[in-house]
Amino acid sequence: MQVFKAYFKVMRGAVATLSINLCVFLALAVLFSFIAPQVQPVGFEPSRIPVAIINRDKEGEVSQGLAEYMEKVCKVIECPDDPEKLQDALFHGQVKYVAIIPPGFSDAFLSGEDCVIQKVIVPGSAEGYYVDIIINRFLDTLDLYRMYGGVGEEDSLPRLIASAMEDLAVETPVTIIGETVISEEYRPGYYYYFLYCAYALLALITMGVSTIMISFNEPDLYMRNSCSPLSKRRMNRQLAAGHTTFALGCWAVLMIGSLVMHGRNLSETGVLGLYSLNTLAFTFVCAAIGLVIGAFVRSTSAQSGVVNVVALGLCFLGGVFVPQSIMSESVLAVSKFLPSYWFVKANDAIAVLRNSNPEHLHSIHNSILIQVGFAIAIFSVALFFSKEREA
């Protein structure tokens, strides 16, 4: 067991780096589980576009009515009447539409003069079209009442606005067909936890495994070990046991983390088993990648560069940091040759799995098996290079 014991002695030296990676992951996991929206509404809910309303016609009843109607159908965000702050909010997507109601708008509208609501939008955006319809809808309806429904004393402005509001409350019945699709904005917190597990596993396991392999492959140590009475086979067996223990340890820590943060939700939906299986398959991929890095890289300074590039590269191209649904077709075509793509594909499929649909389960199992295939292939490459070195 000397080699197995030495394995963890060497690993102790890398504890600081491994802890930093783990802490970064846990911090991100906590952050994203707070940000993740909780429950998807049942049935069809029209989009509620974030809008900033700058009402410079505060006294005008039409302006007030319009603002009131927009509050019902849009998500109104409080913003100060300051172009710099409004531009910030628009650039960062905090609001998608800035509607500026100019002073005297109500009077101009009621007297039938030309009047406009100024808007600041991303030109040509769908959200812009949508909010345009909402504003025009209210003002067109009110205009019809103003022109034809306002005869007589009783038709005061508040009554016309109330009539318009009443008409605008009538809605088209909407049916949703097929299986319920969980849209990206309503993915549960644990979905993001397991998604970012890919980065944590890659960073932790490749760093740990390659650190050991670099130490054991150091020329002097390698030659010294070669002439020791311990057979090559036994030494490799103990190293393999060390790698397996370390990789499974990392996986177990992350699984415990998921139970602590999302245990209740996971047990309610019953998808913990599938997530565990998917991350376990990816754990083997990471261990195999760590072996390859350990076989190629000679110095610890080059190692951190290679580990970072490999981990970030696989995560960006596989769809961990950016959803696969918004990646371009050409990039996705290349990503299919990466194990992280199949990890994310399975992760996405598990998040939307309902009632253990056999067809979906089959595709999840396929993705997991493909990762196992990648692990075997990468492991074979590592073996080939270590044999080459021996020769």
Partner: protein, 384 residues
């Protein structure tokens, strides 16, 4: 002597492969990954396209000329085309929806119905169009029941060109720049590269202090005035860092096509101010923090990553969230100041905010340099 030390320092830094990897190659790789992952998601690519919709060709639809007229008007080719209409039977409509070829199905009846597969902005627009149709019918019924004498004039108006539909909105813009969130990631990346200049400052701090490295001990006993050595070292570090940031800027702007606006002089000034802040921060960590090389390097990487995170490198909304919740943090985080300087050059017509950012970067750099100077001057060692 200044030039002699400067040239040799330059050679030392350029030949440090690890340093060049983290300060240049890593940023270029990260920029490439950003571009590959979401470079295609420009504001232009999110432009509204006419919504593909299937209409069930049933008896109710054929007997509803009003609905036909509305849908025809909205799908007529031109700048205001909102719908791309397919009139098909109900089975085909469902197939098209299932394949994702259309966003929804409109079925005429007493009240028109909408069938969709999932909620979304295009589906919401479809619903709003149908809402408009039934709401207008209700409004007209209400008006006619209240004032039957206006019905003639009302219908005449409705049938006239454009009828009652008016566009009350007018697009204005605060500047010519197109809001494009993806740009924020590249600006934060450049900010990170500027802060990574700290590695050069840190290397300098190791090689000038006798208790930290053999090289430092040898240089400390050399007859050259320490001030000359420190200035030459810092100038070399700045020259290397600034060149690396310029290479990254060139790669982002000319190879990946990232838009930095057209104020080249100010863009270069931001890169320079960012590099100065990075080098002085690295020197500060190297001189003022006690600990081994590993501790100092770890601290530099950790703090740089934290600054870049707050500047929006990992999650672009972070910069805006910090500006809303803790505005003071924006003014003391050099990475945010660099990213915000690029952003204000791109988005604003005025330079007020840009110069606040550059000014704060200069103040922060001066503070770091001052603290490092205090720590380095007249240093004596009883034993090393």
């Amino acid at each position: 002597m200044f030039w002699h030390v400067f040239v040799y320092r330059l050679k030392c830094l350029v030949r440090d492969r690890e340093l060049v990897f983290w300060t240049l190659i890593f940023s270029i790789l990260l920029g490439t990954l950003f571009y590959v992952a979401f470079g295609h998601l420009t504001a232009e690519s999110a432009r509204f396209q006419p919504i593909k919709v299937a209409v069930v060709n049933n008896e109710a639809y054929n007997q509803d000329p009003a609905l036909q007229a509305v849908l025809k008007e909205l799908s007529s080719a031109g700048a205001n085309q909102m719908l791309d209409l397919l009139v098909v039977d109900d089975k085909e409509a469902e197939e098209l929806l299932e394949e994702g070829a259309v966003s929804g199905i409109i079925t005429a009846g007493e009240l028109p119905r909408l069938t969709v597969k999932e909620p979304g902005i295009y589906q919401s627009i479809l619903k709003m169009i149908l809402d408009e149709y039934i709401q207008t019918t209700k409004t007209i019924t209400n008006i006619v029941s209240r004032n039957p004498q206006v019905s003639g004039e009302l219908f005449e108006n409705l049938q006239s060109q454009n009828g009652y539909r008016r566009d009350y909105t007018e697009q204005i813009s605060f500047s010519d720049a197109m809001p494009d969130m993806v740009l924020g990631y590249f600006y934060a990346l450049l900010a990170m590269a500027c802060m990574y200049s700290g590695f050069c400052g840190l290397r300098n701090a190791f090689d000038i202090q006798a208790d930290l490295s053999d090289k430092g001990a040898r240089r400390s006993v050399a007859p050259t005035h320490k001030m000359v050595v420190v200035l030459a070292d810092s100038a070399a570090a700045l020259a290397i860092s600034f060149s690396e940031v310029l290479i990254l800027l060139g790669y982002l702007a000319f190879v990946l096509g990232v838009n930095f606006g057209n104020q080249v002089g100010y863009v270069l000034l931001t890169c320079l101010a960012g590099s100065v802040a990075g080098v002085s921060f690295g020197t500060f960590i190297g001189t003022s923090v006690r600990g081994s090389e590993g501790v100092k390097t770890g601290l530099l990487i950790g703090s740089t990553m934290a600054m870049s995170f707050l500047a929006g490198l990992m999650w672009i909304d972070m910069k805006h969230v910090v500006a809303l919740k803790a505005p003071w943090l924006v003014y003391i985080n050099p990475a945010t100041l660099v990213a915000d300087a690029f952003y204000s050059l791109y988005i604003f017509d005025t330079h007020r905010r840009f110069f606040i950012n550059i000014g704060m970067l200069c103040v922060i750099s001066a503070v770091f340099c001052g603290l490092s100077f205090v720590r380095l001057r007249r240093e004596k060692y009883a034993s090393i």
